[in-house]
């Protein structure tokens, strides 16, 4: 049953994808579109295969920055939310800061970080990713911590439980689904931020640098191949975190 339904949910988007790529290929060939305008899927696939090792290497660099940023942003987001939820005045103090972080384009901070940590270090990129991840992690964790059912609150009060026990036994376990959703959102943001940050300077490695330098060298098909690499890297991050979320939901069942 489960296999069949999974197959069905996969089949529709796959079919759409195949049709779109076939149409794209047909149009490029039929209208003889130049590669610098729109390269053909087969051309991109060829370039992807040719420079596969370099793409994997660049994706590894960008992916590592994104991963470090994701872990850093997630851990701080969760911890700050737990502390802020326990201390009401702190959450009120933090609200405008978080709102500001949510609206400023965080990658715009990249040049400032490169100046602070030196252009040879990846620290700036990791920090950009971490800040981008922090916002959804903080907001989702906070939301989850506040979802506690009144009956559980009454119960813990009747047990004269300490704030620490209530946090550990009721609030934090109850917030886990929200935290995992935040992680799923944050994973894509981490990859995008780490990659875009490369456009603003820093060490000459990573997918973002590769895309800009290929485009600057008029090698558009190669640029698209790196873009494909970036898409796959983002999908990997999203897939893993979405998988963790689904696994946790299945383990905990309904309530």
């Amino acid at each position: 049953m489960r296999m069949a339904s999974t197959a069905r949910t996969l089949l529709a988007p796959l079919t759409l994808g195949v049709i779109a790529i076939a149409l794209w290929q047909a149009l490029v060939v039929a209208l003889a579109i130049e590669p610098f305008l729109v390269p053909s899927p087969s051309g991109i696939a060829g370039a992807f295969a040719d420079s596969f090792d370099r793409i994997v290497d660049a994706a590894g660099k960008t992916g590592l920055n994104a991963l470090i940023g994701l872990v850093l942003g997630a851990v701080t987001g969760i911890l700050v939310a737990i502390i802020a939820n326990a201390l009401r005045f702190l959450s009120q103090m933090l609200a405008p800061v978080v709102a500001a972080l949510a609206v400023i384009p965080i990658v715009a901070l990249a040049p400032v970080f490169y100046a602070m940590f030196g252009a040879a270090a990846n620290t700036g990129r990791q920090l950009v990713a971490a800040i981008a991840v922090f916002v959804p992690m903080y907001l989702n964790t906070m939301h989850g911590l506040r979802q506690v059912e009144p009956v559980h609150r009454d119960l813990m009060r009747s047990y004269a439980a300490t704030a620490e026990q209530t946090n550990r036994m009721v609030l934090i376990p109850g917030a886990v689904p929200y935290v995992l959703t935040g992680l799923k959102i944050g994973s894509s943001l981490a990859v995008i931020s780490a990659l875009i940050a490369e456009y603003f300077g820093g060490p000459a490695n990573g997918l973002g640098i590769a895309i800009t330098s290929a485009a600057a060298g008029s090698n558009y098909t190669a640029a698209w191949a790196y873009v494909l690499g970036a898409v796959l890297l983002g999908a990997l991050f999203y897939g893993v975190t979405a998988g963790i979320e689904a696994l946790s939901q299945r383990r905990r069942g309904g309530s």
Partner: protein, 268 residues
């Protein structure tokens, strides 16, 4: 303090809720009631008569406005901190990420009982509620009646001398409900705990209680107290004339307490 016969003493209690618009709702007015040790007392009345509020005051879940409540001679706050009562609500309120056993052990864990003693106690309670085979199941794998049994076991985990129950069977179907009532009678006879039991159901109150306290709304107050003295509370009692007389007595009092008949009271 030795062998004090009174479990709960409620003396001239008022409870006023302030609404957000600055108005006042008089939830309880001059309520006085003593519950003896080991006594089973039901609170019954239409919606809004303050019966749940009264139970929450005894549990120290809400503060009272005036008057005094003592539990085993102590303030409600001290009684709560000393774990003198166990509590169960209409919602079972189990933690979905904990197994049945871990849910029953929750209060013991909070109060620092070591793992082996916790396990011994949860084994006893699982046997008592007949869910030995479900110890490692999670709440989502249980029926409504089973969840409520777990909640009651959890309320009894620390062998309290007082049980506070707010419509614990309210969400169950009639069959399960009667079965649970029979079990509760057996559990109470075994433990000798006093019980304050909030319910909407007249037959339930009559079947379970030594005394049924009839309340009326706006403001919530006690209008009558019906003592019931049955020889045995078993399946036969449900067919007994004395039982029907008790049901009729309570129903008449409820009808009398509000013109046009009781609202929000189940007459089944």
């Amino acid at each position: 303090m030795t062998g004090t016969p009174v479990a709960v003493r409620i003396d001239g209690v008022d409870k006023v809720f302030r609404t957000r618009k600055g108005g006042e709702v008089h939830a309880l007015s001059d309520v006085s009631l003593d519950v003896a040790a080991g006594e089973f007392v039901s609170l019954i009345g239409p919606s809004g008569c303050g019966k749940s509020t009264l139970m929450r005051l005894v549990a120290d879940l809400d503060p009272l406005t005036s008057g005094e409540i003592t539990v085993f001679g102590k303030s409600v706050e001290q009684a709560r901190k000393d774990q003198d009562y166990g509590i169960a609500f209409q919602q079972a309120g189990l933690l979905p990420w904990r197994s049945v056993r871990a849910n029953i052990e929750l209060p013991l864990e909070i109060h620092g009982v070591d793992a082996r003693d916790r396990r011994d106690r949860s084994d006893e309670l699982l046997a008592l509620i007949g869910l030995e085979d479900f110890a490692d199941h999670h709440p989502d794998q249980l029926s409504g009646g089973m969840k409520q049994r777990v909640a009651i076991a959890r309320a009894m985990a620390e062998r309290p001398r007082l049980l506070l129950m707010d419509e614990p069977f309210g969400a169950l179907d009639e069959m399960t409900r009667e079965h649970m009532q029979n079990e509760l009678v057996a559990l109470c006879q075994e433990t000798g705990a006093a019980v304050i039991f909030v319910t909407h159901s007249i037959p339930e109150a009559v079947f379970l209680s030594d005394r049924v306290v009839v309340m009326s709304p706006r403001p919530g107050r006690i209008t009558d107290i019906v003592p019931l003295d049955f020889k045995a509370r078993d399946e036969d009692l449900r067919e007994d004339t004395a039982f029907y007389e008790g049901v009729t007595a309570v129903r008449t009092l409820l009808h009398g307490s509000e013109q046009g008949g009781p609202r929000g009271v189940e007459n089944r």
